[in-house]
Symmetry: C2
Subunit: 319 residues, 2 copies
C-alpha cells in the first residue's frame, strides 16, 4: 500500500499522477481537513472533495478544485438573495456537500461519509480524512483571527500572517486507519502541498507525526517550493510566519523528524547540496506539474525513490 | 387589502393575474404549507415558493413551479450519488431552500423566513404561510400513508385515495397576520386551487374558517373544476375521497359556510342554476387560464365581483 499525505491543489495534481501509475486498491490518501467549514449551512471539506473528485476523474483541471464543467447557478441565486458568495460552490459540487451534511447529521463520521460518497462515485482507493474530529486551521492576522478559507479565498491571502494554529488538534485523534496505514505502508509520500496549512494540520493530530517517525517505510516528499517561492498559493507567507525559511531547506526542516527523501526542482540543485538536515537526501528533477504527463512523471519519480519494486510490477499504467 | 387563499399551480396562475391588476402593497397571500417537506436535509415549501417566485416575476410559466430557465445539475449529481431525485429542485431554486433552511435553523419562523426571502427578491406584497407550525397533509392510500409530495410527485397521484388528513392541524395556530388579514380584508379570494389539499390545509388551521365566516368582506372563489374534472392535478380523486361531488357543487359545498360567490366556467352554467347551497351565488365565465391575458381577465372578474371599487381606481394595470 502506498500512503499519501495531501491537501490543496498541488496535492490533488500529485494524486492525479499516482492514480495513473498504481492500481486503485494500492493507494491510501490521508487528507487535510483543517480547511473544512460550514457554508450555507452545509459541511464543506474542500481537500477531501478534491481527492474524491480527482480519483473519480471528475476534478476540474482548469480550476484545480470542484467538478469539471460545473455551473454556478445556485451561487448566483444566493448572491441575488443577498447571501455571501465568496466561496464558489458549483451546482454539481453542491450535491456532495448536501449529501455529506445529511450523512453527518444522521450520525456518520466524516470518514464514513467520505467512504460512502467515494464508493458512490466508484472510487476504489481509500480516502481517509486526517481526523473525524474537528481541527480548524486558524490564521491570526492584523485583520483578525481567520479561518483558512476566509484567509485564502475570501481575502485572497493578502493579509500579513502573525501565526497559524490548529484549533482542536491537541484533543483530536487520527481517523480510524490513519496511523495503521502509515505504519504498514510500503511507502509514504508527502504531496507537494503547503507544509503549514495542508500537511501541517495532519501532522498536528496527535499520533500522526509519531507514526511517520517510526514507520519502516521510506518517507518521500515532493517540494511545493521552487527557489524562494511557492509553486502556487500562500505557502511562502505561512512558512515565514511559522519560522521556516522559504526554500527547500524550509521544507526539509518542516519534515526533518521523519523525512527520508525530498524531491526538489532541478533549479534548486545548488541549494540541495547545502542541505544537512537529519537524514534527508535531496533528489532533483523537474517538479513543475503543467500537464498530465508531468503529473505522471513526478509521481513516478516519487515511487521510484520510495518503492521502486512497485513500478517493476506488470501493468503499472492505468490510464 | 385584497386577501387571497392559495396553493398549487392554479393558485399561482391566479395570483399572476392579480399582481398585474393591483398595487403590490394591496395584496396579501395566505399560502398552503401542507405540502412542505424535508428534501436533501432542506426545508422545502413548494406553494410558498411558487407565490414568492410569481410575485418576483421568476416563476417558470412552462412548468408552473420553480424558477424560469433553471437548470437541474445538482439534481443530476444527486442522482449519480444514488440519492432520491424524484422531487425536481433546480439549481437556482435550491438557493431558496438553502437560505430558508438556514433562517429556520437560526430560529426564525416560517413567516419571518418567507418575508426575508420575499424582500430580498423585491416582492412588496405580503406572503403569509398559513401557519408557522407544522401541518402536514397525509394521503392514506392502499400503498401506505403518503406525504402530499410522495403521493403527487413521486407516485404521480396514481394511488386510490382512502382519506386525507392534516397532521398537526388541530394543535396549529394561524401564522401572525392571517386571521387579521381575513377579518380586515376588502375582499377575500379563494384561488382555483385544489379544495382538499391546497385550500383544505389552510381551512384546517383553527381560527381560519371562523375568520372567513365572520369577515365582512365578500368571499369569492374561482372553481378549479370544470364539468366533472379538475382543470389539472388530482383534485377529483381527493374530492371523492373527502365525500365531495366532483363538480362546481362540490366546490360550493367545500366552502359553503363562508363563500359568497363562486366563479365557474361557462360550460357549467346549467349546473350553476341547480346549486342551492348556503348563500352561494354562481357566476359563469371562461375560467381556463391559458395565457397571461386569461389570468388577468379571470383575476379581474374575481375583483369585479368581490370589490368593484378597487378596479375603478386609476392605474389599475401594473404590468
Amino acid at each position: 500500500m502506498i500512503v499519501v499525505l495531501t491537501g490543496g491543489t498541488g496535492g490533488a495534481k500529485f494524486v492525479d499522477g499516482l492514480r495513473r501509475l498504481l492500481p486503485a486498491e494500492e493507494l491510501t490518501i490521508i487528507v487535510n481537513t483543517g480547511d473544512d467549514h460550514e457554508w450555507w449551512g452545509l459541511y464543506v471539506s474542500p481537500d477531501v472533495d478534491s481527492i474524491v473528485y480527482v480519483l473519480a476523474d471528475l476534478l476540474s483541471s482548469e480550476r484545480g478544485w470542484g467538478v469539471r464543467g460545473d455551473t454556478f447557478h445556485c451561487l448566483q441565486a444566493m448572491k441575488e438573495l443577498g447571501e455571501e458568495a465568496w466561496f464558489s460552490v458549483g451546482d454539481r459540487d453542491l450535491a456532495t456537500h448536501l449529501l455529506r451534511t445529511q450523512l453527518l447529521s444522521r450520525g456518520q463520521t466524516l470518514s464514513e461519509a467520505t467512504s460512502y460518497i467515494a464508493e458512490k462515485l466508484d472510487v476504489r482507493s481509500r480516502i481517509l480524512p486526517m481526523s473525524d474530529m474537528r481541527v480548524e486551521t486558524r490564521i491570526d492576522t492584523p485583520a483578525g483571527d481567520l479561518s483558512f478559507e476566509e484567509y485564502f479565498v475570501k481575502r485572497w491571502y493578502q493579509d500579513p500572517v502573525n501565526s497559524v494554529r490548529f484549533s482542536g488538534a491537541s484533543e483530536a485523534e487520527p481517523a480510524p486507519g490513519v496511523v495503521d496505514a502509515i505504519a504498514s505502508a510500503q511507502a509514504v509520500l508527502i504531496a507537494p502541498s503547503n507544509p503549514v496549512t495542508s500537511i501541517g494540520p495532519i501532522l498536528a493530530v496527535p499520533g500522526v507525526r509519531e507514526a511517520l517517525q517510526t514507520t519502516p517505510a521510506k518517507v518521500v516528499a515532493v517540494s511545493p517550493i521552487i527557489g524562494s517561492a511557492a509553486v502556487s498559493g500562500p505557502a511562502a507567507n505561512l512558512m515565514t510566519a511559522q519560522g521556516l525559511p522559504v526554500s527547500i531547506a524550509g521544507i526539509a526542516k518542516a519534515y526533518e523528524d521523519f523525512l527520508d527523501i525530498l524531491i526538489a526542482d532541478d533549479s534548486d540543485s545548488a541549494a540541495a547540496r547545502d542541505i544537512n538536515i537529519g537524514g534527508v537526501t535531496v533528489h532533483c528533477t523537474d517538479i513543475m506539474m503543467r500537464d498530465t504527463e508531468d503529473k505522471r512523471r513526478i509521481a513516478r519519480a516519487a515511487l521510484a525513490l520510495a518503492c521502486p519494486e512497485i513500478l517493476s510490477e506488470p501493468a503499472a499504467e492505468f490510464r
